[in-house]
C-alpha cells in the first residue's frame, strides 16, 4: 500500500492529533464539521481511519462504553510517531513553499 497521504487523510490525521477529547469515529466527524465546515459521514471517517491505521500513522485501542453509545465500546485512535513526523514533514514542505510565495500575492 502506498504511503502517500490524501487530502482527506491528512486532515483526519491532523484532527486525531489535535483533538482534546478521545478521538474516535463520531468525535472526528464532529471535529471535522466544526473546523472545516463540511459534513462528513461516519462511515467515511471509519474508512479513512482504517486506512491511516494500516499505513501506520495512527494506532488504536478499545476504550470505554457510554450510555449514549447504547453500551458499545469506542475504538480510540492515537497518532503514532510516524504519523507525527509525516505531518511535520508535510508542514515543513508547505512552509518552504509558502516562503517562496511572491510578495504581490500576499500583500
Amino acid at each position: 500500500m502506498s504511503k502517500n497521504l490524501g487530502t482527506l487523510e491528512e486532515t483526519v490525521l491532523l484532527i486525531v492529533a489535535v483533538i482534546e477529547k478521545e478521538a474516535y469515529g463520531y468525535t472526528v466527524s464532529e471535529e471535522y464539521y466544526k473546523n472545516i465546515g463540511q459534513r462528513i459521514s461516519i462511515s467515511a471517517v471509519h474508512t479513512v481511519l482504517k486506512r491511516l491505521e494500516k499505513k501506520g500513522y495512527i494506532h488504536s485501542e478499545m476504550g470505554g462504553a457510554t450510555k449514549e453509545r447504547g453500551g458499545r465500546k469506542k475504538r480510540i485512535f492515537k497518532v503514532t510517531k510516524l504519523g507525527f513526523t509525516t505531518l511535520e514533514s508535510i508542514q515543513e514542505a508547505r512552509m518552504k513553499l509558502w516562503g517562496m510565495m511572491p510578495k504581490y500575492y500576499t500583500s
Binding site: G25, Y26, S29, I42, A44, T47, E68, R69, G70, R72
Partner: protein
C-alpha cells in the same frame, strides 16, 4: 427525552455488521444519533441514522468477510485464473466465447420478438372477448368469419346474464375525409383506418381518450373521434373538438374527441371512429341475421364458467337462424376469442382486422432460438473438454499439491460462469446493434426496451446460471477425473478413443444444422415457387389509383369517372383503363349468397364489379361465352363466373352454365353470360376463390391504368395533373399493382431472412464445435502423427486418416437428420395451398453443403498438424 434510533435499521446493522466491528460502528452511530436528536429532533436524527446504516452496508463491514475469507479468496483466485487461462490461448478462448455470444444473441433477439408478439392487446380490461363465427354449408366448414351479424351482440347481451356489455365495430369508415382550413384550402386525405362503433367503445377497450368524455363521444349521430395524429393531419395544433370534418364530401361530422394513437401491439388500429348512429338508415339492427360485417366484442362477468358459456353461445345461431338455415342448408356457430389471444391465434380467419395469426411462426422461432442456444452450449462443452489435454497437467499438479476435487469443480464452474456472463454482456451489445439493422433489412420491428422487461431480466439471470451449470458441469467432471499419476507421466488417451459423449454432441449439433439448412433451402424454394407461379393474370406495368369517394352529388362520381377515362385514353402512354370494385392483392369484403335452379340452398361467392375492359387488360382468359358489353343495356343483369364459381354452383361445364340464371325468381336475377379462367386474388398461400363478376355501374374503388412505358415518374406526374383537375376534392393516391401484390409476401420474406440467418449461425457454431473436436483429437495424436511421418506417411495420408473419423460423424448425423427434416418440411408445407415439391435436390444440395463446410473445418486444423515437422512434436518429453 431520548428515543432510540429506528429499530429495523438498528437490527439491519446488527445483522450485517461483523462482530468485531459492531462496537465501533454501532457505538458511533448511536452516539451521533443521540447528539443529533437534541439538535434536529428525533425524525431527522432517525433519518440520518438510517442513511448512515445504509452507508456502512459495504463488504468491509460484513461478517462473512472474516469467517469465509478463505473461500472468498479462492473464488477471487478462480476468477483471476479464469482470465489468465482465457488470455493464454486467445484463439481458442475467442472461438469458445464467440460461439456462446452468437447463440445468446440469437436467443435474445428471438425472445424479444416473441415477447413483443405475446404482449399484444394486454392493456384492455380482462374478460373481454371477440365473438367470431364459423360458417358451415351442408355441415362442412365453408369459412371462418371475424365479423358477425349486428344482432349477435344485442342477443348475447339480452339472453345471457353473463354478458355485461358489448360493442360493435363496422369497418365502413374508409374513404376521403376533408377539412376546409382558414385559408380556404381543402385538406383531404384518403383514410384507411376509419370505422363506425357503438357508443360504449371506449369503455370496452383500454384505449386512452385525450379529449372528450369516453361515455359520450360516440353517443350522438354524426360525431367522430380522431386519433392524435389524424387530428394533427387535419387541424394542425388547433383544438379539433367541436370542429367539422367532411366524410366523402357529403356527410359533415363533428369532432367530439381525440384519442391517443393506438399502441403498436394492438390488433385494432383506428384513426377515425364515427358513432355507429351516423350510419345511413341507422337502426339497432336487432333482427338482422344476414349482414355479417360487425366486429363484436363482449365483456363477460369474471365469475363465468367459460366452457359452459361457450357451449351456450355455440348454439345461439342454431336457434335464432333456424328458418333461414333450413332453407339455405347452412349453419353458423359462434365462439369466443379472448382479446389477448387474437393476434396470435387468428390463423385462417377471414376479414380480420390487423395482421393476425402467426402463432406457428412464434413457436417455430422459439424452437430455433432454443436449439441455437443448445448448440452453443454443446459447443462450449466440446471446446472446454478439448482443452482438457492441455490442462491435464495443471489439474494433475493441483491434485498432487492437495487441491480437493470439489474445489477443482468449482474452479471450472467459475470459468464457465465467466464465459457465460461475458457472453451475455456482449450479446446484449450485439442485440442493440442488430435491432436497427433488422428493422431496416426486413422491416421487422423489435422493441429494445423489452430488454428491461421482467421476463427478459429473469431469463438472463437463468441463462447465466443455468448456462454455466449446463455447460460447465461435464467439462468440470472430465477435467477433474484425470488421475494425476497417469496425466503427469504424459501419456493418456489414444486417438482411437471410444465413441464418446463428445462425438454424440457433434452428431447432435450437425443433425440440427442439417435440418436448418434443408429447411432454409425449402423455404427459399417455396417462396420462389409462389412468386414465379402464374397468377392467371397480368399485374405488370399497372398503375392503380384509389377511386375517389368524396362526391358532390348523386351521379357526380360516375360522371367524373367518365371524364377521367376519356382524358386518360387520349394520353399516349396509357394502354388501357379499367375500373373495378376490387383488385388482386386486396382482401375482398363483398360477398353474396346465390342459388341456381338445381343447387340446394345458397352458396357464398365473392363479388367483384368490373367494367368491360377488366378481363382484357388483366389478360384473364375467357373460357366460354362473352365479355360484358357496354352497348347491351341488359348486361346490368348479367354475370360472369370464374371456374371455381362453376364448381361451387355445381355446373358440369362452362358451356352448361351459359344462359343459366342465378337467384331465379328473386327480385334481381342474374344471367350467366360468360365464364373466365381462375386467377389468384391473394397469394399462393390461399386457395382460389369462387368469384362472380358484375358489370359496374357508378363509381368504383380502384382505377387500374395499364402503362406502356417504364418512365413511371413522369407518367405519375402527368396523371396526377389530370386527376387534380377533375378531383380537386379527392387526394391522388396511387400504387403499382405488382408491388402491391408482392407485399403480401412480406411475412414470407421476413421468415425467409430470419431462417437463413439463423441456419447460417447454427452451422457456423456447429463448425466451431467440430473445430474443437478436431483440435482435441489432433492434440492427442500429435506424437502418433509425428511417428507416422517419420516412418514415411504423406500429408495426404494423414489428412485422410484424421478426416475419416469425422466423415463418420457427419454421415451419422445425415442419417438422422434427413428423415426428420423430411417430416418437418412436409408439415410446414401443409400451410400452403400451393406447395413446391420437396424433391431429392434439397437433400443433395444440403448434404453437399454440410460435407463441404465440415471438410474445410477439419482440414484447416489437421493440415496444420500434418505439416508440422515431426522433430518438433517428438522432441517434447
Amino acid at each position: 427525552m431520548h428515543k432510540p434510533p429506528p429499530r429495523w435499521a438498528n437490527r439491519f446493522l446488527e445483522w450485517y455488521c461483523a462482530s468485531h466491528l459492531i462496537d465501533e460502528i454501532q457505538g458511533d452511530l448511536r452516539e451521533a444519533h443521540f447528539h443529533r436528536q437534541k439538535e434536529l429532533g428525533s425524525t431527522k436524527a432517525g433519518l440520518w441514522f438510517i442513511w448512515d446504516v445504509i452507508k456502512f452496508f459495504r463488504p468491509s463491514s460484513f461478517s462473512k468477510y472474516q469467517t469465509n475469507s478463505n473461500q472468498l479468496k479462492m473464488f477471487k483466485d478462480h476468477i483471476k485464473l479464469g482470465f489468465r487461462i482465457f488470455r493464454r490461448n486467445k484463439v481458442y478462448s475467442s472461438i469458445n466465447l464467440s460461439g456462446l455470444v452468437l447463440g445468446i444473441t440469437c436467443c435474445l433477439l428471438i425472445s424479444l420478438h416473441v415477447i413483443g408478439e405475446l404482449s399484444y392487446d394486454n392493456f384492455h380490461p380482462d374478460n373481454t372477448y371477440r365473438v367470431v363465427m364459423d360458417m358451415f354449408k351442408k355441415n362442412e366448414l365453408s369459412g371462418r368469419s371475424t365479423p358477425v351479424y349486428p344482432s349477435v351482440g344485442i342477443a348475447l347481451n339480452e339472453d345471457f346474464p353473463e354478458v355485461q356489455d358489448f360493442t360493435r365495430i363496422l369497418p365502413f369508415g374508409d374513404g376521403v375525409y376533408s377539412v376546409q382550413n382558414e385559408d380556404g384550402q381543402l385538406i383531404r386525405f384518403n383514410e384507411a383506418k376509419g370505422v363506425y362503433a357503438d357508443q360504449n367503445f371506449f369503455s370496452m377497450f383500454g384505449f386512452e381518450l385525450l379529449k372528450g368524455n369516453p361515455d359520450e363521444v360516440l353517443s350522438e349521430p354524426d360525431h367522430i373521434v380522431l386519433s392524435e395524429s389524424a387530428a394533427k393531419r387535419y387541424f394542425g395544433d388547433a383544438d379539433p373538438v367541436g370542429k367539422n370534418i367532411s366524410f366523402r364530401g357529403r356527410q359533415t361530422l363533428v369532432v367530439s374527441g381525440v384519442m391517443q394513437d393506438y399502441p403498436k401491439n394492438s390488433h385494432l388500429q383506428f384513426d377515425m371512429i364515427t358513432s355507429l348512429r351516423s350510419m345511413d338508415q341507422f337502426d339497432e339492427w336487432k333482427n338482422n341475421w344476414g349482414w355479417y360485417d360487425f366486429y363484436t366484442y363482449i365483456r363477460v362477468d369474471p365469475q363465468t364458467d367459460m366452457t359452459l358459456f361457450s357451449e351456450k353461445i355455440d348454439r345461439l345461431l342454431l336457434e335464432k337462424k333456424k328458418e333461414i338455415n333450413e332453407r339455405l342448408g347452412t349453419t353458423q356457430r359462434l365462439w369466443l376469442q379472448h382479446v389477448p389471444d387474437i393476434h396470435l391465434y387468428s390463423e385462417g380467419m377471414s376479414w380480420d382486422m390487423g395482421e393476425n395469426g402467426g402463432s406457428d411462426q412464434v413457436y417455430f422461432l422459439s424452437a430455433i432460438a432454443f436449439l441455437i442456444l443448445i448448440i452453443a452450449w454443446v459447443n462450449f462443452i466440446n471446446l472446454s473438454t478439448a482443452r482438457a489435454v492441455k490442462r491435464s497437467k495443471e489439474v494433475g499438479i493441483r491434485k498432487v499439491v492437495g487441491v480437493e476435487k470439489r474445489q477443482l469443480i468449482i474452479q471450472f464452474l467459475t470459468e464457465a460462469f465467466l464465459y457465460n456472463f461475458f457472453a451475455v454482456i456482449i450479446a446484449i451489445g450485439f442485440v442493440l446493434i442488430a435491432i436497427p439493422l433488422i428493422s431496416n433489412a426486413i422491416d421487422l420491428s423489435i422493441d429494445p426496451y423489452l430488454l428491461l422487461s421482467k421476463e427478459i431480466l429473469i431469463g438472463i439471470v437463468v441463462l447465466i446460471f443455468g448456462g454455466s451449470l449446463l455447460s460447465g458441469l461435464y467439462p468440470a467432471f472430465v477435467l477433474t477425473s484425470f488421475k494425476p499419476v497417469i496425466v503427469l507421466k504424459g501419456s493418456f488417451y489414444s486417438r482411437k478413443a471410444s465413441f464418446g459423449f463428445r462425438q454424440l454432441l457433434v452428431i447432435f449439433q450437425f443433425t440440427i444444422s442439417i435440418i436448418l439448412i434443408l429447411g432454409t433451402i425449402l423455404v427459399v424454394k417455396q417462396l420462389r415457387y409462389m412468386q414465379n407461379q402464374s397468377l392467371g393474370l397480368d399485374v405488370k406495368q399497372t398503375l392503380v389509383l384509389r377511386g375517389p369517394s368524396s362526391s358532390r352529388g348523386e351521379n357526380d362520381l360516375a360522371n367524373r369517372q367518365e371524364l377521367l377515362q376519356t382524358q386518360l385514353e387520349q394520353n399516349s402512354i396509357v394502354k388501357g383503363f379499367t375500373v373495378s370494385s376490387n383488385i388482386p392483392g386486396e382482401e375482398n369484403f363483398w360477398i353474396g349468397g346465390f342459388f341456381t335452379r338445381e343447387s340446394e340452398g345458397s352458396n357464398s361467392c365473392y363479388i367483384i364489379a368490373v367494367d368491360e375492359n377488366f378481363f382484357n387488360q388483366f389478360e384473364i382468359d375467357l373460357v366460354a361465352g362473352r365479355n360484358f358489353s357496354e352497348d347491351l343495356q341488359s348486361d346490368t343483369a348479367s354475370v360472369i363466373l370464374n371456374k371455381e364459381a362453376l364448381k361451387l354452383f355445381g355446373f358440369s361445364s362452362a358451356e352448361a352454365a351459359l344462359g343459366e340464371v342465378l337467384n331465379p325468381g328473386r327480385r334481381r336475377e342474374w344471367k350467366v353470360v360468360g365464364v373466365v379462367e381462375n386467377y389468384h386474388q391473394a397469394t399462393l398461400r390461399e386457395e382460389l376463390d369462387p368469384m362472380a363478376f358484375f358489370l359496374s355501374t357508378g363509381s368504383n374503388n380502384f382505377y387500374s391504368i395499364k402503362l406502356n412505358t417504364n418512365d413511371y415518374r413522369s407518367v405519375v406526374a402527368s396523371i396526377e395533373d389530370q386527376w387534380d383537375k377533375i378531383y380537386p376534392d379527392n387526394p391522388f393516391d396511387f400504387f403499382f399493382l405488382d408491388e402491391f401484390f408482392n407485399r403480401q409476401y412480406k411475412s414470407d420474406i421476413q421468415f425467409n431472412a430470419v431462417f437463413i440467418s439463423f441456419a447460417g449461425l447454427a452451422i457456423f457454431v456447429a463448425c466451431l464445435g467440430l473445430f474443437g473436436l478436431v483440435s482435441f483429437t489432433v492434440e492427442q495424436a500429435k506424437k502418433e502423427i509425428g511417428i507416422r511421418k517419420v516412418l514415411g506417411a504423406s500429408v495426404t495420408k494423414i489428412m485422410l486418416l484424421l478426416g475419416k473419423d469425422y466423415a463418420k460423424l457427419i454421415i451419422g448425423s445425415m442419417i438422422i437428420a434427413f428423415p426428420l427434416s423430411f417430416w418437418l418440411m412436409t408439415k410446414w408445407l401443409e400451410d400452403f395451398a400451393y406447395q413446391t415439391s420437396i424433391g431429392m435436390g434439397i437433400f443433395i444440395l444440403g448434404g453437399f453443403f454440410v460435407i463441404l463446410v465440415a471438410l474445410i473445418t477439419v482440414s484447416v486444423k489437421s493440415l496444420n498438424v500434418s505439416k508440422t515437422n515431426p522433430a518438433i512434436t517428438l522432441r517434447e518429453e
